[in-house]
Symmetry: C2
Subunit: 254 residues, 2 copies
């Protein structure tokens, strides 16, 4: 069995899609540059250890995406880069987070006034008496880039009521005079799109998403705000300078 066939056994995704993924990445990372002539079908057959037709299917996929352009007798050329909207910069301090959310264009798509409690993990505080559930979608250029599933403690929801329908909840909570936020636990993982998420983000079921969970705990240890945010993977990037706060590191420092 060839090397790739055994990898194929691991993933069960159609081979030509796997091959296309790798090629797409090569273009994306600049390994194959726009205008380049890529390897011949024959070479690709050998490299990936698959049949000619399979390579052609992969190329056809990327042709539809506008990344490749095959010309009979000449070769196959790179004709573009995958579109990325990595304009999202996840915050890693609270103020940046709040101010970046403030300007978001969002659309509430679902509200349940009587909602099941969120599942809290170790260290995420204790449950409030009851929660309201809000779901919204964030857009940029009319393209959806994230879905927010928010469990909001009813006591908080009642303070501002209808305002939560049209505005992001987090900045509103920060403004509340009688609420103290003791912790803001953030957890970032890679997840897969549920039917609802896939539908709202216009991606395939089970495709990867960047999942960010944000839990706000008040001074009595109650989780008043539990958000599960699913980002479209191409819209997600987290950038920071690890030395931003501490300044340059002189040699030999402990």
């Amino acid at each position: 069995m060839s090397k790739l066939t055994s990898i194929y056994d691991r993933s069960r995704v159609p081979l030509y899609i796997q091959v296309a993924s790798v090629m797409r990445q090569r273009i994306d990372t600049g390994h194959w540059v726009e205008g380049d002539k890529i390897s011949t079908l024959e070479e690709l057959e050998q490299e990936f250890a698959v049949a000619r037709v399979t390579i052609r299917q992969a190329i056809e996929l990327l042709r539809e995406e506008g990344l490749l352009n095959a010309q009979q007798g000449r070769g196959t050329f790179v004709s573009g880069k995958p579109k990325h909207n990595r304009w999202l910069n996840l915050a890693n301090d609270f103020d940046t987070m709040v101010s970046s959310i403030k300007d978001n264009v969002l659309k509430r798509v679902h509200i349940e006034e009587i909602a099941a409690n969120p599942d809290l993990s170790e260290g995420e505080g204790t449950l409030a008496d009851s929660y309201v559930f809000l779901r919204s979608v964030q857009y940029n250029d009319n393209e959806p880039f994230s879905v927010v599933n928010l469990h909001l403690a009813r006591s908080i929801f009642d303070k501002a009521g209808k305002q939560f329908m049209s505005v992001a909840a987090l900045p509103k909570i920060v403004e509340m005079a009688d609420v103290t936020i003791a912790h803001a636990h953030q957890t970032l993982t890679i997840g897969v799109a549920s039917p609802e998420t896939a539908d709202l983000l216009k991606i395939g079921l089970g495709e990867p998403t960047a999942d960010c969970r944000l839990v706000l705990v008040d001074d009595s240890g109650i989780a008043i705000y539990v958000a599960d945010i699913h980002y479209h993977k191409n819209c997600f990037a987290l950038r920071n300078d690890l030395l931003e706060r501490s300044g340059p590191r002189r040699g030999g420092a402990k």
Copy 2:
């Protein structure tokens, strides 16, 4: 056309795998709990709008993974949770990063003393004269969880030579008396496994990975350390408290 069929059109992944992904996630998130009897085939058929056999294929997949257990005449039951090794906690300050790397068990799998230059993005400094390329795999419990592709400026490599073969490079660099690190740019995105990465992490080609790029820039603006780290998606999590540095947030604060 049913709702799911149209989602299927977007993803091109076999339908039963998509269905299995959703079910797996339900178990993972605690929506379906161990011991539960899940919906009947008939209900699932309707919910996902697919044929009975397709549901059975999905269940069979999860049965092989030990998550489900179907019993004729009784129903299908949850028999376990997906294994996650989310013990990785990506640092978001430099010292934590360095000290967490120090203890890593790694295996160098590939070294090129004469290597191509890395591709630097805007703001990641300027290229050094030449680079050495090092590839290593990190293990935990004999399971690979990350692949590091490192371009190290030759001037740095020459200072410690063979030591880089067996030890993580970053702590070594920090200890160097005549090297100043001015910036440590970190970028986190979601990527896909290349053939090499898939092979080393034992995952399928094109499966999602958490990609972390770390670029160290010295005081003359040269990128002396350019690492592309690919984490297994189940081993990756980033956790922090956004209020850790600033302390609790009193209500009404601007």
